[in-house]
Amino acid sequence: MCQTIDNNLTISMKKVNYRNLPSQLSLLLLACLLTFSTTIYAQDESVDVTAGEALYKANCAACHKLDKKATGPALRGVAQKYDKEWLYKWIKNSQEMVKAGDPTAVKIFAENNNSVMTAFPALSDTDIDNILAYTSQPKPEPVVAETPVAGGGGDSSGVSNDIILGALALVFLLLVVMLFLVTNTLKRIAEANGVEYEEGEKRIPLWKAFVQNQFLVLVTSIFLLLAAGYFAYGWMMQVGVDEGYAPVQPIHYSHRIHAGDNQIDCKYCHSSARKSKTSGIPSLNVCMNCHKNIAEVAPETLAEGEEYGVDYNKEIQKLYTAVGWDEDTQSYTGEEKPVKWVRVHNLPDFAYFNHAQHVTVAGVECQKCHGPVEEMEILEQFSPLTMGWCVNCHRETNVNLAGNEYYAKIHEELSKKYGVDKLTIAQMGGLECGKCHY
């Protein structure tokens, strides 16, 4: 018991440092209240908020949120609302109570669109106590963003560099002016003193000499033409090659979070890559598999989003609008607004590419062509997608023959004929025009 109180207090104490007086007071009050309430539930010696949190996350979080209605109602403070014995019964088997005609149970069941709550007969009363203890914790105040302190020591070095450079330039300028003035003064003194000084023989200026030398002009112009040609060719070759193309999408979707942090397999969302020519932009119902319950991101993630100037929670709201999900009623309204994504990887119509061939048959990693997508906050085109790029890979890569009955016969025949064990795609006919152009 003491431990729990301590925990709460330490948490509060930490926060107190950053607060002004009124909120400090209220917080203290809250802490007191909490201490009181925990004491109520702490009759049993083993009430453990940490264990409660773990149980909550494992069993309840799929349908419940603490402060917001999800499939089921918000759970913070639920222990205060209902009788504890009633709650035990309800959690262990709610449907029984509904059927039995318990008025509260029927009411709650009706309030939540008649969605049946999973029965948890395996949870002991202690477990439930722990969970209730967790749900009875006060709502943490939103972390007020710290205003960054301006003019730290680290920043000053950049500024000073500029200043130094500016000062140097000024000094040089002054020197030049001084030199000019000195020369003028000396000249005047010399004139005044009647000192004769000879001006040097007028020589042809360098540029005139250059122009008069036809050979040099010829060589230079050939050089210039070649250089121009080289750069023009280089420039033209990149026309239509959109490496690094990272358009702004209607919903800021972060592959970094999904594929990187959360380790979701590419083919979970892009499932048609396994069997179709297109990898498929996932339909929004796939997003809702998870986002039905993830309406908000963790505070740390939210803070990360600030780096990119994006509020992830708002982006999730965009998804809800598009798919027509009403968070309050936890149901689909049927008002759908399809999302117009901007295509990143565009192949011309005359080139046929099939994902299934590469993903399923050859077992190529998505990253081979699409780059480190799991690190990309904004998806960009990683590969040039030029024919040369395709062909190079087809020349270098061996066909993945292992365990594929289809290749068995061809492989046997070819190895008999050429005495090779491994075949590149090119040797299998992967460079033929008609394989990709039809």
């Binding site: 798919v323 399809p338 006919g429 394989k435």
Partner: protein, 1019 residues
């Protein structure tokens, strides 16, 4: 030394002080240069704020801006599903079994859909019924017809269905006690039958009359009189030894068609045997073209022939026909129950004679008749006359367009307009619907539910493969609403099918699309015409009573392979499909024999660009006149007879480009296909779009042909010799390695695709042409371009006529030619087809030569060879020199002279959003200036290979398909891997009938042909 010579510029200079010289010295251009003419007058120039310099700046800026803008790629948006349906994986096709039953074509089909839109029609292999012809293949494009009616109309105003229902209910109440006719197509649908009965029970004033636009009433009457049920006998021609057809185009649309597959099976020589086919006919039809012996005979002669064949006595037949009839009779007798006589004469007696004659024949099946035609001429005539005379007060039409198709359409249209109630169920605002008070917009069959009993005991299900594109409701759903049944039609069918299903589950039946069941299903009774007005209508057939007036011709009305009854006239694929016989597109015309043409002064000639021109005639029959009908001289047309196709000349709800041909229905009096008419030449020249300029082979062996006798008794070298070429003055076979200019690749590893075409099985039906169109996004170019031989068909079916009586005689004649005089005159003669020629069909596509002449001449290597045997064409590499087409001996390469997609000049399906939905996303749409050609459907072979790779298995024979091989009902086109020695195509390649087209050229094609064998033995 400097010369002091002075050169005189003109005589004027001789004179001193000539004013002219002086003026010229001062001013070289005496007259002012008329700059104002192109710069505008001075005033305009001065008031303009744009100076010359500014103008140049603008030009420079815009050019630079345009070229810079071109460097930046466009932003392409992608919109995924919000909620993706489970069964749709983008990029993967789904197939659904369904059925077409539009009143003219009835067939079980598989519908290929991509991302929820149907893009192709395939055959359903589970179905034993054929009939997936060119029109059915093309029907998917009619779904995307931009002229479809999007909403129901009441008095021309767009209304909601609720308003429409209310309007109909009100009208029906007002009409109580008045005669209302429900005039429908043949549905052959058990549930629709039941539904109509329920409807007429609720509204007893309504009587149901079935109207087939192209009638088979006489055959139905004969069958009904003999066997009790109304239906058509079914024939299995694969069991026939002798087929004698008297005016029945059973490879065309005779009694609903769909007999190709069985026929072709019996035509391929097996164990030295094949069927013998004798055809007596007036028009040159597909059946006649495939016959072993074809005897031209006018319809009146056909009547006599039929009498003679079936044991009666004939009179007035010419000598050669009598002989042919006697021969046929003897052969029929010999064949016993494996002989069959069929007739297409529109006469109950004639039909009965044929049925009687076939009694006990193994070929004819009368226990399970076909239900695909039900119409009764007498009843339809009474409706027509009833409307005109005013006794019929209300008319509800479903799937038929009587204002277009009734013979006295003008009078009918007038009367129709003043009916108390006119309600049309139609997909388009056609001739009838545009005059109707109420028009119910109906969905296409690919958007509808339905059930069909095409043949007794064979049931099919029709299921929607796309959400309705427009605000449409099908006829059956309307009826359900109107009789107050709250069910939808889907549930209604399901409920109705409990008896049909037997042990099969509904899902299985829906999956298969076809179900053979012994369940007895009650269908509506359609009365027979016998004892009604029918005899009158038949006696009205002057043509059959052989009482020709002087100068009269016997007209046989027929339906064309491409357009049929014309219900798909707004389908550009079908309009552009060449007629298998005349090879003419975008038209109907009078076919006339050469000798009749000479007598009437009618002519056909080719003009400088190759286009075919022809005269016009007026066709007159009593009061009915069809004006300005183009004339095509048809070899094989019986003298004294002419032919004309129905289904053309529609103008309502049809794009202007597709309003082709003349409406022949005015001549379809009493719905009899045989009429006596007079012809009268009128001024003017018609421009045909005919794609074949040369009609004979002139004795060459483009098509190898032999007789069954020689085929059975002689070695293959005698009738299918390998061509010899000369090397160092020694004759060597062209297949010898010494005869090669090039080294051969090793093709023993992996797949090596070959396509085999059996000329015995090919009936020329053209389903492959349309299948190829649909699969490969082949553009439609329009009549003008077709006329200039700029057709884009990747697959064409060449038709050749013999210039003598037979192709064998052609060859003999050619071999006998010697000396200059003889070759000049006789080769000239051989260019003309005989009066009754033998006909042969040959599908020709890219031959995918192993030593391809096109590949060696391409300056940019746009066409190259794959190791799987395909000749690849990289469109984006092509620069359009057209060298390849010039060097191709088979002339199968097609050049995109224009941009055919999204171009207002070519306003066909690729120029509107709806029509483009039919495009196959796996095949690129070619742009202007590139060459294209058959790819051997590489997208299909690649798909098959990928599927096998993904599943980690070998590929079985039969998995590899091309669009044409999949579409071929008769099994003439076989595709496969010849490195798989168990495959059918390997067997075909090593068959003794196998030959290569123009083998002497040494191109080593991957397309092989099976030489044609004709069963020419008389008696």
């Amino acid at each position: 030394m400097a010369s002091n010579k002075k050169y005189w510029k003109s005589v004027e200079e001789l004179k001193e002080n000539s004013s002219i010289v002086e003026t010229l010295q001062q001013n070289e251009f005496v007259e002012e240069i008329p700059t104002d003419e192109f710069l505008g007058d001075k005033e305009v120039l001065e008031t303009s704020s744009t100076t010359r310099r500014d103008f140049l700046k603008y030009v420079g800026f815009t050019t630079a801006a345009a070229s810079l803008a071109a460097c930046e790629g466009p932003v392409i948006k992608s919109i995924p599903y919000v909620v993706a349906p489970d069964e749709i994986v983008p990029g993967v096709a789904n197939y659904y079994a369904s059925a077409i039953a539009d009143g003219f074509d009835f067939a079980n089909v598989l519908v290929k859909t991509r991302e929820g839109r149907p893009i192709k029609i395939e055959r359903n292999d589970l179905s034993a019924m054929g009939g997936v012809n060119a029109r059915v293949q093309a029907s998917v494009l009619s779904l995307y017809d931009s002229n479809r009616l999007p909403v129901p109309l009441v008095d021309g105003n767009e209304v909601s269905w609720e308003e429409f229902d209310a309007a109909v209910a009100q009208k029906m109440n007002e009409m109580t006690g008045k005669d209302i006719v429900l005039l429908t197509q043949t549905f052959a649908s058990p549930s629709t039958s039941k539904l109509i009965k329920e409807f007429t029970a609720k509204y007893p004033d309504v009587r149901h009359v079935v109207y087939d636009t192209v009638s088979s009433s006489e055959a139905l009457d004969a069958f009904q009189n003999k066997y009790g049920t109304r239906g058509l006998a079914d024939y299995d021609f694969s069991k026939a030894d002798v087929i004698v057809s008297v005016g029945a185009d059973f490879l065309g649309d005779w009694q609903g068609g769909g007999y190709d597959a069985g026929y072709a099976q019996g035509r391929v020589p097996k164990n030295g045997k094949m069927s013998r086919h004798i055809q007596f006919e007036a028009n040159m039809t597909l059946s006649g073209a495939n016959a072993d012996k074809r005897v031209p005979a006018t319809p009146s002669q056909q009547m006599e022939i039929l009498k003679a064949l079936t044991g009666g006595s004939a009179s007035g037949l010419p000598e050669h026909i009598t002989e042919a009839v006697n021969n046929a009779k003897a052969q029929l007798k010999k064949a016993g129950n494996k002989g069959v006589v069929i007739t297409g004469l529109p006469n109950v007696t004639a039909q009965k004679m044929a049925l009687d004659c076939n009694e006990g024949s193994a070929v004819m099946d009368t226990t399970k008749p076909r239900m695909t035609r039900m119409g009764n001429t007498a009843e339809v005539l009474s409706v027509m006359n009833g409307v005109i005379s005013g006794t019929v007060k209300g008319l509800i039409t479903v799937g038929v367009d009587p204002v277009y198709s009734f013979p006295n359409s003008a009078a009918f249209a007038e009367a129709y307009k003043s009916l108390d109630m006119s309600l049309a169920f139609s997909m388009k605002l056609d001739a009838t619907a545009s005059l109707a008070q109420m028009v119910a917009a109906t969905p296409h069959y690919l958007e509808s539910w339905g059930d069909v009993q095409m043949k007794k005991g064979t049931f099919s299900l029709m299921q929607p493969t796309i959400r309705p594109l427009f605000n449409t409701r099908q006829f059956q759903d309307c009826l359900l609403k109107w009789i107050g049944n709250s069910k939808n039609y889907y549930d209604y069918i399901k409920e109705n099918w409990t008896s049909v299903l037997g042990g099969t589950s509904w899902s299985q039946a829906l999956h298969d699309g076809v179900l053979v069941s012994d369940a007895e299903v009650e269908m509506e009774e359609v009365p027979s015409s016998e004892g009604n007005v029918s005899m009158e209508s038949n006696s009205a057939n002057g043509a059959l009573s052989a009482s020709l007036q002087n100068g009269e011709f016997e007209l046989t009305l027929y339906t064309k392979t491409a357009l049929g009854d014309g219900s798909q006239a707004n389908n550009p694929w079908l309009q552009e499909m060449p007629d298998p016989i005349t090879r003419t597109t975008w038209d109907n015309y009078i076919t006339v024999s050469a000798s009749d043409a000479t007598e009437l002064g009618l002519e056909n000639y080719n003009v400088a660009n190759g286009g075919l021109n022809g005269s016009y005639v007026n066709v007159r029959m009593g009061d009915a006149v069809v004006e300005k009908v183009p004339v095509l001289i048809q070899p094989g047309q019986a003298k004294g007879s002419i032919g004309l196709a129905l289904g053309y000349g529609k103008t309502a709800a049809i794009q202007e480009e597709m309003q082709t041909g003349v409406n022949a229905n005015a001549l379809y009096q009493n719905f009899s296909s045989v009429q006596n008419v007079t012809l009268e030449k009128v001024a003017g020249t018609h421009e045909f779009a005919c794609v074949q300029l040369h009609n004979t082979m002139m004795g060459r062996d483009i098509i190898r042909e032999t007789s069954l006798e020689i085929f059975n008794t002689k070695d293959a070298e005698t009738w299918n010799p390998v061509p010899m070429v000369s090397k160092d003055h020694q004759e060597i076979p062209v297949t010898s390695p010494d005869a090669d200019l090039w080294d051969s690749f090793d093709r023993s590893v992996g797949h090596h695709f070959n396509l085999s075409i059996d000329l015995n099985a090919c009936t020329g039906c053209g389903a492959c042409v349309i299948a190829c169109h649909a699969e490969n996004n082949v553009p439609v170019v329009g009549k003008e371009e077709m006329r200039m031989s700029r057709d884009m068909h990747w697959l064409r079916i060449d038709r050749y006529y013999s210039s003598e009586e037979s192709f064998v005689e052609d060859a003999t004649k050619k071999d006998a030619i010697s000396g200059l005089g003889s070759s000049l005159s006789e080769y000239g003669e051989m260019e003309n087809a005989s009066a009754n020629p033998q006909v042969a069909f040959q599908p020709v596509m890219c031959q995918h030569c192993n030593h391809a002449p096109c590949e060696t001449v391409c300056p940019v290597a746009a066409t190259s060879h794959g190791r799987q045997g395909q000749n690849h064409m990289a469109y984006n590499r092509c620069v359009g020199t057209r060298y390849c087409a010039n060097n191709c001996p088979y002339k199968v390469r097609r050049f995109n002279w224009f941009l055919y997609a999204e171009n207002d000049e070519f306003d066909y399906n690729m120029n509107n959003d709806l029509g483009r939905m039919v495009l196959n996303p796996d095949v690129v749409v070619r742009s202007r200036g590139v060459m294209e050609k058959c790819s051997m459907c590489i997208q299909m072979t690649q798909k098959t290979i990928l599927d096998a790779k993904r599943e980690g298995r070998q590929i079985k024979d039969g998995e590899f398909k091309t669009a044409c091989s999949a579409a071929c009902e008769s099994g003439a086109i076989v595709f496969g891997d010849v490195n798989d020695h168990d495959s059918l195509v390997f067997e075909k390649k090593n068959d003794k009938r196998m030959y290569h087209l123009l083998e002497a050229v040494g191109t080593k094609p991957n397309v092989v042909y099976q030489a044609k064998v004709r069963n020419t033995k008389e008696v």
